[in-house]
Subunit: 214 residues, 2 copies
Amino acid sequence: MSKEAKIPNPTIKRLAVYSRPLEILLETGPPVISSQKLAGLCGVNPAQVRKDLAYFGEFGIRGVGYDIRDLLHAIKGILATDRKWSLCIVGMGHLGSSLVQSENFKKRGYIVKAAFDSDARKTGKKLSCGLTIQAASSISEAVQALDIEIGLITTPPHEAQRVAHLLQEGGVGAILNFTTIQIRTRKKCIIENADLSVKFENLVYHLEQLDKKG
Amino acid sequence: MSKEAKIPNPTIKRLAVYSRPLEILLETGPPVISSQKLAGLCGVNPAQVRKDLAYFGEFGIRGVGYDIRDLLHAIKGILATDRKWSLCIVGMGHLGSSLVQSENFKKRGYIVKAAFDSDARKTGKKLSCGLTIQAASSISEAVQALDIEIGLITTPPHEAQRVAHLLQEGGVGAILNFTTIQIRTRKKCIIENADLSVKFENLVYHLEQLDKKG
């Protein structure tokens, strides 16, 4: 396992990307794939694929390719996506509600165990997934009781910092922050930002540059 | 404008991040902010803030700080977020439906002009935002007629490549791809991936590493 700890972050991100077409091929395709083919499906170059996969041992057979089932199994082991993770979502607006219902999450082993909102008109409401929306004030207690590992924040920006604090008090190890606010943490906790509007602004900047050129 | 073209990509991404607290402060805070304070709110170091902002001229007054209104205006000009952009969304599942209804998008000038789905049970349905879901087969025509600049793909993965092709035929300049599939394009078109599951896998990998360390 000591070897795995040295895998660089860009490789980890690409492993997740590699696993996508492999999942589809596992159900429909041939049992083996070449680094060339996998690279093409993922939009990276074949040498990069071979280099990334070499980090965790010998998988490919020269001139034949990778066994899809073995490779996917290994990647999922590395990424720790071969186990279930328990989540909660705070903020039952449009985005939060859509994430609660995501079949894709469940399929990937991310189990939403609780949903919270600070709006008293929403708390107590039963969601189609079976969960009942709980008051934001009960976050710490519920997170601890349900042993929730990851918290998603889809609240209005001004609530995000307070919610992050409650999630950490309850003991989550990671927070995925969908708001436009940068969250500060005191304890050891992984924060990942998933603010869509930053992605948008990057996109339109480049679009504008293209328009100027031609 | 030639100077702007040289702004590096990481700076562009940080400009979007800087604009968030500035927007909030513009409504509630003092008229001026120091690079120290702005850096703290954004989780970057003050030298980085000063360096990034220096790319587009002299804004700060030494010992005083930046005029919040001027700075925000300049950032929005650079990022091209001071104008409206027209979008369409293809795939009216949970995520697509939540994005169509996003008040946050509209507030930022991203106007959703059309919504599509390939499911005949969904087409013709009127959404609460006033749009009617159109058949995916009419994407090219509608995109061209409505002069849509950006396409969001929230379909099942196996439909994404075909949809991307139709969007490009209609003339979009950029695609934001929420599916797990890498999209290939023939024409000049900006593709940005917003696959949440890659973000998740990165998060749980690091969480697992932390757990191992104890």
